[in-house]
């Protein structure tokens, strides 16, 4: 307590969270997205084709349905690409920053001393591309939990170790 000082904080000198250069997700994450979206589209296509063959009322609207479906797929891919491009993260000394969102840009910041626990999730497609997802949980419930997908597995492991170390140091 002897070297305790309490000077006024110069608020203009504080590190700015909004100016931190963020790391974008691993390029393989786009491939992962393509595969998972592709599988979904494939399933929908099969269902649609079957429907057009067996439901007679639909036969007259074949072109309409096909065009609609193609537009849907294009929009889906476009939106996925945009969402992928918009996601970025940064691990600072004292907190983690994650940015996402197409129409609205949401930036979430979680200080390490508020993290409850961390999980590493590997989906089967993600594992194929050597990726993992880091899940960070706080006490604030679902709305303040964070999922950062598309990080290379080895790096994700390292980040997790770093996080766990940071959490511990705080107490």
């Amino acid at each position: 307590m002897t070297d305790f000082t309490n000077e006024k904080i110069d608020t203009t000198q504080l590190p700015r969270y909004e100016a931190v250069p963020l790391t974008s997700l691993h390029p393989n994450y786009w491939k992962e997205l393509l595969v998972s979206r592709g599988l979904m589209v494939l399933m929908l296509t099969v269902a649609l084709v079957l429907a057009m063959i067996f439901i007679e009322e639909l036969v007259g609207y074949r072109w309409l349905v096909t065009t609609g479906f193609v537009i849907f797929v294009v929009i889906l891919l476009f939106v996925s690409r945009m969402a992928y491009k918009k996601k970025a993260y940064a691990f600072r000394n004292h907190d983690v920053i994650f940015r996402s969102g197409i129409i609205a840009t949401n930036t979430m910041v979680i200080p390490y001393n508020r993290v409850q626990h961390v999980a590493l999730h590997e989906g089967w497609i993600a594992r194929f591309f050597g990726l993992a997802k880091i899940e960070i949980f706080t006490a604030g419930g679902v709305s303040s939990d964070l999922e950062i997908p598309g990080i290379a597995k080895a790096e994700a492991e390292k980040i997790k170790q770093l996080l766990m170390g940071k959490i511990q140091k705080q107490l």
Binding site: R16, P111, H121, T138, G141, V142
Partner: protein
């Protein structure tokens, strides 16, 4: 088994059976009607097909539960004091929980587990709704050993502390605040209109519906009502109706408030508050100031004139008692008593510091959403589908005027106050709420900005706490960012206890 747990270990081998049976059980619960129908209607051939499908499902479930069992491991990492759970066959998840973050460990048994003689364990930390660690099948000895191992830390001490405090609750009681009958009556008269109107409407509609269905329309003498309506003007009848409604609302409100909060007493003891209230059954709750996350002080025009306010307190939530104890109401204290409570909860009276205003686009947007959209729908409906709708144009006008007033007042009251230690968000049109949040209770911060608002420099701010979120929409964004940076700095440089 050994009591070290520092090597990854599986559940009891019999756990395969638990997983398997649980899956079968869930499946049967969902599809039993189909099974019964097929069995009843079955002919020779379809019985075989059904049996084959059942066999297939059995084999699939068997393999699945075996793999699930093989891939589920847990251990305590002694070097880092972490509890680690590995789960998943194809999608793998590795959950790491630091021992000192564990708040509860529950040992449980459901029907299947009792049948087989194993126990389930839930490991719970603060916050998130689902159980973080869920082990399905371990022996009782192992469960107890693991539990004691997991709870060898402060988390356990904290729980015990709160228990002992409950035990000592009777010893020292200095009434700190007693809400008298007059205050309760004031609150009963001036709050919860909307809730009561809803209650009354449902009540009347149920009665009407029942009468209607019973074919007992004769009971309600329609002729006499008609005569009444003819005799007096429609307006007069309407006025009487509204007056009756309001009287009933008042009576119901007052009675409800009295029954629920009769003899509301707040006593102070060793830094925490004990609340007792209730006419028929007496409730008592213990409130620890450090668990308080958000305090909401509400007041409307009448209440301001009568000098009463309502205080609602949101606590940190954890474990089983999530819903029941997380919200605490203190109805009908006067302003100075309210200040006393705030002082006790926050160790100082929260000041309204710098004021942040919302952008006028917020008003325009809500007008668009609540007035223009419904009105357009109404006019299109009247013009193209049912011209009769225009008979009620008066109602539409009343709606527009009412909503416009509400929105204007709502916008005028929408404010964010930032002081050194607290953030106060003010909102509401009639009931003006002030949500007070201590800065070090913030768990995470989200800022949000629509892309066309970037050049306008407006954006939104959400503060997440263990007792819920507070959002301020469309404020001046660079100012918000300044504050976010400052708050982050404050949170990250101190190790305050947020619960």
């Amino acid at each position: 088994m050994e009591t070290h747990f520092n090597q990854p270990q599986r559940q009891s081998a019999i756990g395969v059976l638990v997983i398997f049976l649980e899956m079968i059980f869930v499946l049967l619960k969902n599809i039993w009607p189909i099974v019964v129908i097929t069995l009843l209607k079955a002919e020779g051939k379809s019985v075989w097909v059904g049996l084959l499908i059942a066999l297939g499902i059995f084999v699939y479930f068997g393999v699945y539960s075996f793999l699930k069992y093989r891939n589920f491991t847990f251990y305590i990492d002694d070097n880092t004091d972490e509890f680690v759970i590995n789960d998943g066959i194809i999608n793998k998840t590795k959950t790491t929980i630091q021992l000192h973050k564990i708040q509860q460990v529950n040992i449980k048994q459901n029907f299947i587990q009792r049948l087989i003689g194993v126990y389930a364990m839930d490991v719970d930390t603060a916050g998130s709704d689902q159980k973080e660690g869920n082990i399905k099948a371990v022996s009782h000895a192992l469960a107890l050993a693991l539990k004691s191992k997991l709870m060898e830390n402060e988390g356990k001490a904290v729980i015990h502390e709160s228990e002992t405090e409950v035990a000592q609750a009777v010893e020292t009681t200095i009434p700190f605040l007693k809400i008298n009958l007059v205050s309760l009556l004031k609150i009963g008269f001036t709050s919860n209109y909307v809730k009561s109107i809803g209650l009354i409407l449902t009540f009347f509609f149920t009665i009407y519906e029942n009468l209607h269905q019973a074919g007992a329309e004769d009971l309600v003498d329609t002729d006499r009502i008609k005569v009444l309506v003819d005799d007096y003007s429609l307006l007069y009848t309407l006025m009487i109706f509204v007056l009756t409604m309001f009287t009933i609302i008042f009576v119901i409100n007052v009675v409800r408030t009295l029954i629920k909060f009769f003899d509301y007493t707040v006593t102070k003891q060793k830094g925490s508050l004990m609340l007792t209230y209730g006419l028929i059954s007496t409730q008592s709750t213990i409130l620890k100031p450090e668990k308080v996350q958000i305090v909401k002080v509400s007041e409307n025009y009448f209440q301001r004139k009568l000098n009463v306010l309502e205080v609602k307190i949101r606590q940190a939530i954890s474990g089983e008692k999530k819903d029941s104890k997380s919200l605490i109401e203190i109805p009908g204290c006067n302003r100075s008593e309210g200040d006393e409570i705030l002082k006790l909860l926050f160790h100082e009276l929260p000041q309204k510091g710098v004021m942040l205003l919302p952008n006028f686009r917020r008003l325009i947007f809500s007008i668009f959403l609540i007035i223009i959209l419904p009105l357009t729908a109404y006019f299109t409906f009247g013009k193209w589908i049912e011209p009769l709708a225009f008979h009620y144009a008066n109602l539409a006008l009343i709606y527009v005027l009412l909503m416009l007033t509400l929105l204007l007042f709502g916008f005028r009251n929408y404010r964010l106050f930032v002081s050194e230690n607290h953030i106060i968000k003010q909102s509401g049109a009639w009931d003006v709420d002030q949500e007070i949040l201590q800065i070090d209770k913030i768990q995470a911060i989200t800022t949000s900005q629509l892309f066309w608002h970037k050049s306008l420099n407006i954006g939104s701010l959400t503060m997440h706490t263990a007792g819920g979120n507070i959002t301020f929409h469309l404020g001046q964004f660079d100012k918000i960012n300044d504050y976010v940076n400052l708050w982050l700095y404050e949170i990250e440089t101190s190790n305050s206890n947020w619960m």
